[in-house]
């Protein structure tokens, strides 16, 4: 069944966008201020005139029912993971268990002040310690710091750790290597941390070009940042050789954990030779993505990097003299050493996004070792099955697998036009043939998918794949969902073969249709005009 092929004027479309600032009326309110139970001293006596505000901010004047209706209606203008398939590559949009929301909201977690004395926050510190130990085991690196606020923040921590490591050895290095397939956060982080980016080429098999790496790896290189499996969905089989080259020049090897969902319990960055790893708790360990955060980006490091980890650190002390706080066998403390001779210091306030730790820890406890392995295996199974179905349905003729030659699969006959192969938890297709043969681009395909009821995959990344489409189904989708998605994609291409105009002007059924992004950037309107 094809969705509408022209503008439909749905009820949501008929409802114009009205902001909360355009609702309400002067004098309306939701808030009832608590009673003034202390002396009614005039504000003028408490604050001199030159420090005071004269005009109140123009915040909305609305009743509670108006607020609720406004935001609930707004919410209906969003597509979300709970409602539909969201195969956004590199983002690991797996199911968010509601147990996590329930336990994170327990007052003992949610109303715990970050400066509560450690002896009165033993539950929180025990949870964080346990999470650190679990992440250490999963990554194969001995030391963990939970503090960074997101993946990019973890990357910054990692590059600053690298700087501190070299400085402690009396070395000043200037360059950080990143493959041309890297996430944009990698080079952006490198610059922010005061290093120069040097790009490493990708070989015909989609991995690091070893010759290029050898040519560029010298003693001015501080670090190589790598994702493995990389952003093409390919595991670099030369990883040990890469680690050797990097370590021979005294540099560190950094692991971008965005794709950890492929290998949990199966292969560990520490065992591959990485020195520093960041995790995206919001990806691999299922935080709700919140429309763009919050996230959490803990790091794990090897022994030689450990002295430089951010503060505060959590320490576990064996019980002695009956000191165990909760009748257990150990107590926990937070240590923030000002002298901080070697630590890079702080990356943010307090201890990190604890609310995220609660959720990811609950997830790890729910799944346990076998469950985490099952999650990765199923994520990989689902991605391969979807890829196979797309092959069967002829989709890969128009959207071939990028670097297909690197995906070894002996069962596919040689010379098969729709060559397909194996992937890990995600795969990258190229819309090049579709563009040439069907006259629609990846962008058009994505926009038409919206009418079919799917969130499109990641588009136009990685940059070195023409018209890229990066698909990550995750382990929490059913076979039926994967089948339906594959069929929808086939149908969409059939439709485009008949009439490309349909996709070129899609979507038709969404609350708004294609938006003028160029105009928005040229004349930025980024707040309500009053």
């Amino acid at each position: 069944m094809r969705p509408p092929t022209q503008s439909t004027d749905t009820p949501l479309q008929r409802e114009p966008a009205v902001t909360i600032f355009e609702r309400g009326a002067p004098g309306r309110r939701a808030f009832q201020c608590p009673t003034l139970d202390v002396p009614d001293v005039r504000v003028e006596e408490l604050l001199p005139a030159h420090l005071r505000r004269v005009e109140p901010p123009r915040l909305p004047e609305v009743s509670e029912p108006e607020i609720v209706r406004h935001y609930v209606r707004l919410s209906k203008r969003n597509f979300d993971l709970d409602s539909g398939f969201y195969p956004l590559g590199s983002c690991t949009m797996k199911h968010n268990p509601r147990l996590h929301e329930r336990v994170a909201a327990l007052p003992g977690h949610a109303r715990l002040h970050p400066l509560q004395d450690p002896e009165r926050a033993q539950g929180a510190l025990e949870l964080m310690w346990n999470l650190e130990r679990a992440l250490s085991e999963i990554s194969g690196l001995p030391h963990v710091c939970l503090q960074p606020s997101a993946g990019s923040h973890g990357e910054l921590a990692g590059v600053l750790l690298t700087r501190a490591y070299h400085e402690a050895r009396g070395e000043t290095r200037h360059k950080v290597l990143t493959p041309d397939t890297a996430h944009g956060t990698n080079p952006a982080t490198v610059t922010m941390a005061g290093f120069q980016v040097v790009k490493i080429a990708t070989n015909p098999d989609g991995g690091v070009d070893l010759d290029d790496l050898r040519a560029k790896a010298d003693t001015d290189v501080a670090c190589l940042m790598l994702t493995n499996p990389n952003t093409l969905g390919l595991f670099d089989p030369n990883i040990q050789e890469i680690a050797k080259v990097v370590h021979e020049v005294g540099a560190t090897l950094y692991y971008d954990g965005a794709n950890l969902n492929a290998v949990m319990g199966l292969s560990r960055p520490g065992d591959m030779g990485f020195d520093i790893v960041h995790f995206n708790l919001h990806k691999s360990f299922t935080q709700p993505h919140g429309g763009g955060g919050p996230g959490s980006g803990p790091i794990a490091v090897s022994d030689r990097i450990e002295p430089f980890l951010p503060v505060p650190r959590i320490v576990r002390r064996e019980a002695s003299n009956g000191a165990a706080a909760r009748g257990g066998d150990a107590s926990f403390d937070l240590v923030e050493d000002w002298a901080g001779a070697k630590s890079i210091g702080r990356l943010r306030g307090f201890q990190g996004n604890y609310g995220c730790f609660v959720r990811s820890y609950a997830y790890i406890r729910s799944l346990g070792a076998p469950g985490l392995k099952d999650a990765s295996e199923t994520a990989v199974l689902n991605a391969n099955y979807l890829l196979a179905r797309l092959g069967e349905l002829g989709v890969l003729k128009f959207l071939p697998l990028a670097y297909a030659n690197a995906h070894s699969n002996a069962s596919i006959p040689e010379g098969d036009e729709a060559v397909r192969g194996l992937c890990l938890h995600e795969f990258v297709l190229s819309g090049g043939p579709m563009k040439r043969n069907l006259q629609i681009k990846t962008l058009d395909l994505a926009k038409r998918m919206l009418d079919y009821g799917y969130h499109p995959p990641t588009v136009y990344f990685p940059l070195l794949v023409e018209e890229a489409l990066m698909v990550e189904p995750t382990e929490t989708e059913t076979k039926e969902t994967l089948d339906s998605f594959a069929e929808a994609l086939a149908e969409l291409l059939a439709e485009a073969a008949e009439d490309p105009e349909i996709a070129l002007h899609a979507p038709y059924t969404t609350p708004v249709r294609r938006l003028d992004e160029v105009g928005a950037a040229k004349n930025p309107v980024i707040r309500q005009a009053f």
């Binding site: 909360i20 147990l99 109303r111 995206n280 955060g293 306030g349 070792a369 069962s411 708004v512 309500q528």
Partner: protein, 473 residues
């Protein structure tokens, strides 16, 4: 199969057949070399049922003394404000909770409009014309503002007030060491940034002049005077940056009216829970000149092909996914859900309520400071005006007094020395007042603290340092 996966035996057979492999194992064997495979199970506990995990998480929660369990006067960056029920209800909606960054604007209008409304609210609070859609949190927002200043003028030094939160100072130093900027700290005099040292420290090599409003010790700074002095000594290219507590902007002059170029801060006060320190959000507002150097996401208004009003992520050429090493920041995921809580909260307070709340905090804080400073062995640490937090000096061992109070169910505030490590902060206690702390609660604090100081008193006689409390700064 786990509780969150769904592959039955018959599914598995069909899927493997379609793929053309005999087992899942084979998929891995063909792609990951044996040498880097983990040939054993992870050493983690086995999985548990939902109710077992719930009980475990509940037991851990019970190992904490939260603001639900004691009378809490802790602040110092995060505060136990009341979060209205509609915030919880809206944050829990799947449509806000479970999508990601609005890469496809046609199906993300809800989230994008929320960002636009949030930006508007932050502009109104700060009196500045542009805001992004949130950054991680407070201290790193200051460090990001510093990076903006470095990109803007290429100068080599930050001059910072010692009145910044110690976590902010530490974070700024960490970042600045990376991007190669020297940090010079200006001490306080009488509880606020010493104006003469401030002016002397700033010159044409100063990239940014950074202070907190109110400062870490609760004192309200003369923001306009600090900014003016910084611009005079450092020229127009210097960037003035203020870390601001947003909840008091109903009563304090907005940074935009004090010649502040960039106002950033911790947004937790605005409808976010304590969560032992996060997640919350950081806000980031600035003058128009800095728009194209802002970090993070920005939502903008536009129209669709049919002329309907809509919203998109805009000015993306600043961002890492487009500009890579030339980006103005490395931020990708920020704090959209927490910023939603912020704008819902501000709508709930509304134009009048926001000011009323600020005035209530002002009056209760003033009352609390007077009550506490009337106690034997307790004196004000400074005499500057305060709005929602104030510092006192105890003539007693602060740790011992805090333990005494804790036994009586009162957390009297933060131990200043433990946070700053500054000798002059020994004996210091930082007390925060929110609208959840009634007069009766404050009276309880005064009684318990008085007893505690009496019990742990270091010396006898007049401990006060003879500072007058008032608005005459």
């Amino acid at each position: 199969m786990t509780q969150y996966t769904s592959v039955t035996d018959s599914d598995l057979a069909a899927m493997l057949a379609a793929i053309g492999v005999s087992s899942v194992q084979e998929i891995f064997d063909r792609q990951i070399p044996q040498e880097v495979r983990l040939g054993r199970p992870l050493e983690l506990p086995d999985g548990k049922s939902e109710q077992e995990v719930y009980e475990h998480m509940r037991a851990l929660a019970a190992g904490n003394v939260s603001a639900e369990d004691e009378l809490c006067f802790l602040g110092a960056g995060m505060y136990d404000h009341y979060v209205p029920s509609i915030v919880d209800m809206l944050m829990e909606r799947s449509e806000f909770l479970t999508p990601y960054t609005p890469y496809q604007p046609e199906i993300s209008q809800g989230g994008l409009q929320v960002m636009f409304e949030y930006q508007t609210a932050i502009c109104e609070l700060t009196g500045l014309p542009v805001s992004n859609a949130s950054v991680y949190e407070g201290p790193s927002a200051v460090a990001s503002a510093g990076y903006l200043a470095k990109l803007h003028n290429g100068r080599k030094r930050f001059v910072v007030s010692a009145g910044l939160h110690p976590h902010t100072l530490a974070t700024l130093r960490t970042y600045a060491h990376g991007y190669g900027i020297e940090v010079v700290e200006v001490p306080l005099a009488g509880g606020v940034t010493d104006p003469s040292v401030w002016a002397e420290a700033i010159d044409q090599d100063t990239s940014a002049a950074i202070f907190a409003q109110p400062n870490f010790y609760g004192a309200v700074e003369d923001a306009a005077a600090l900014s003016a002095a910084a611009k005079e000594a450092g020229g127009e290219q210097l960037v003035t940056i203020a870390q601001v507590d947003p909840i008091v902007l109903g009563v304090l002059a907005p940074p935009g009216e004090c010649r502040v170029d960039v106002a950033v801060g911790e947004g937790q006060s605005l409808g976010n829970r304590l969560d032992y320190g996060g997640p919350s959000f950081g806000f980031f507002a600035a003058r128009e000149d800095y728009l194209r150097r802002m970090p993070g996401r920005i939502a903008g208004e536009t129209i669709d092909v049919d002329g309907r009003r809509g919203f998109v992520l805009t000015l993306q050429t600043r961002e890492q996914h487009i500009r890579r090493e030339k980006a103005t920041s490395n931020i990708c995921t920020s704090q959209a859900l927490n910023a939603l809580a912020g704008v819902v909260y501000l709508s709930w307070l509304g134009r009048r309520g926001f000011v009323e709340l600020g005035e209530l905090l002002l009056r209760r804080t003033h009352y609390a400071r007077e009550e506490l400073c009337a106690l034997d062995g307790v004196s004000p640490l400074h005499s500057q005006p305060v709005v929602r937090e104030f510092a006192v000096r105890l003539d007693a061992d602060v740790a011992a007094v805090r333990r005494y109070c804790a036994a009586a169910g009162v957390n009297p505030g933060a131990d200043l020395y433990a946070l700053t490590g500054r000798e002059e902060d020994r004996g210091g206690l930082l007390v925060a007042i929110t609208e959840r702390r009634s007069r009766a609660d404050i009276d309880t604090l005064a009684q318990v603290l008085g007893e505690g100081v009496a019990a742990e008193r270091l010396t006898t006689g007049d401990a006060g340092r003879g500072v007058e409390v008032g608005a005459s700064a």
